[in-house]
Amino acid sequence: MNRNVVLTGVASVTVAAIAVAAGIYFTRAPAFEPVGLLPPADLGGAFTLVGSDGAEFSSGDLSGSGAMLYFGFTYCPDVCPTELARVAGAVDQLAEEGIAVTPVFITVDPERDGPELVGDYADLFHPDMIGLTGSVAQIEQVAEQYGVYYRRVEDGSATDYLLDHSSYIYLLDPTGRLVWMFRPTDGVDAMVQTIVEAAA
């Protein structure tokens, strides 16, 4: 894949489609290596945050479909968009497999990321992506529940700062239970295949 020139706006779909096509037409022996991590048993749980319309949004509103959560911030132009495009690509591929997963973006920068900003940012990546913010206390709590590390990089400016943050994709099952975590190095097709196999 490194040898190809690819736009990931379409690449996640491309990669999976190529993998599927290649698997079927050439090797006929799809090699499958699950990717990701089994989360520590104490991670996860229900949360109540604020949606892009400013109204309360609770994790119960996601029930009925799986969910992929990503914690980031809208002022992040490099890593977060890459990861959210991967989430969006995986969600689309899973839909083709008949597995409904809702993409969710949760800011760890609630002081700057209000409801409208998180909503616009989520919309950029997928029409079904839900953008969530909350009070500082709410975000601290959900981050602690999911083991999300984030820290403001102080540069003396009140508004022009960056955040260090952990970068995992969290997979919730349709009951809201945290079942798996993916890392930035896990390929989209491998993530999808891991979920498809687990759901089979």
Partner: protein, 160 residues
């Protein structure tokens, strides 16, 4: 039957991606070649954006990218990025980005990049914006960055 459809779709998507890259553009300044400066679409009212490119030093002495300026943003910084134990850290590169003689340095997602801070306007996919790059030895050059999709990851490594 469905699998056949997926194959057709894969071919069409690859074709579309390659057609997109037909717009790849290069610039020369001194001994440097700057390949396909590009950026990502942003949300309305987004504060920050990013610019990426490949820079090849065809000369026999090192050069340094010391500054980038873009009228679309109030200021820019040259950033690097590292991941340890699953934590992403972005930092300003002190002293600029060295382009060693005879080598190509890639500014690319999850690596070196130009951070555009304080965007005046939304960056819209398919549009271009000007970017001025200043090198220690080669001097200054104006380039245009092509705005790709919001989470685009272009790989310029095979473009040579």
């Amino acid at each position: 039957m469905f699998k056949g459809m997926k194959y057709v779709r894969a071919v069409m998507i690859v074709w579309a991606a390659l057609m997109g890259m037909a717009h790849a553009h290069d610039y020369e300044v001194g001994e440097l070649t700057i390949t396909h400066p590009w950026s990502r679409a942003t949300a309305p009212n987004a504060a920050n954006g990013v610019a990426y490119m490949a820079i090849t030093n065809n000369g026999s002495s090192d050069d340094v990218l010391i500054a980038a300026e873009a009228p679309v943003s109030s200021r820019t910084e040259l950033h690097t990025h590292e991941m340890t134990d699953g934590v992403m850290r972005m930092r300003e590169v002190e002293g600029g980005i060295t382009i060693p003689a005879g080598e190509t340095i890639y500014l690319e997602p999850s690596g070196l990049h130009v951070m555009l801070m304080g965007l005046d306007d939304q960056l819209v996919e398919g549009e271009l914006f000007p970017l001025t790059l200043t090198f220690q030895n080669a001097g200054t050059i104006d380039v245009e960055a092509a705005i790709e999709g919001p989470g685009a990851v272009l790989d310029l490594h095979s473009d040579h």
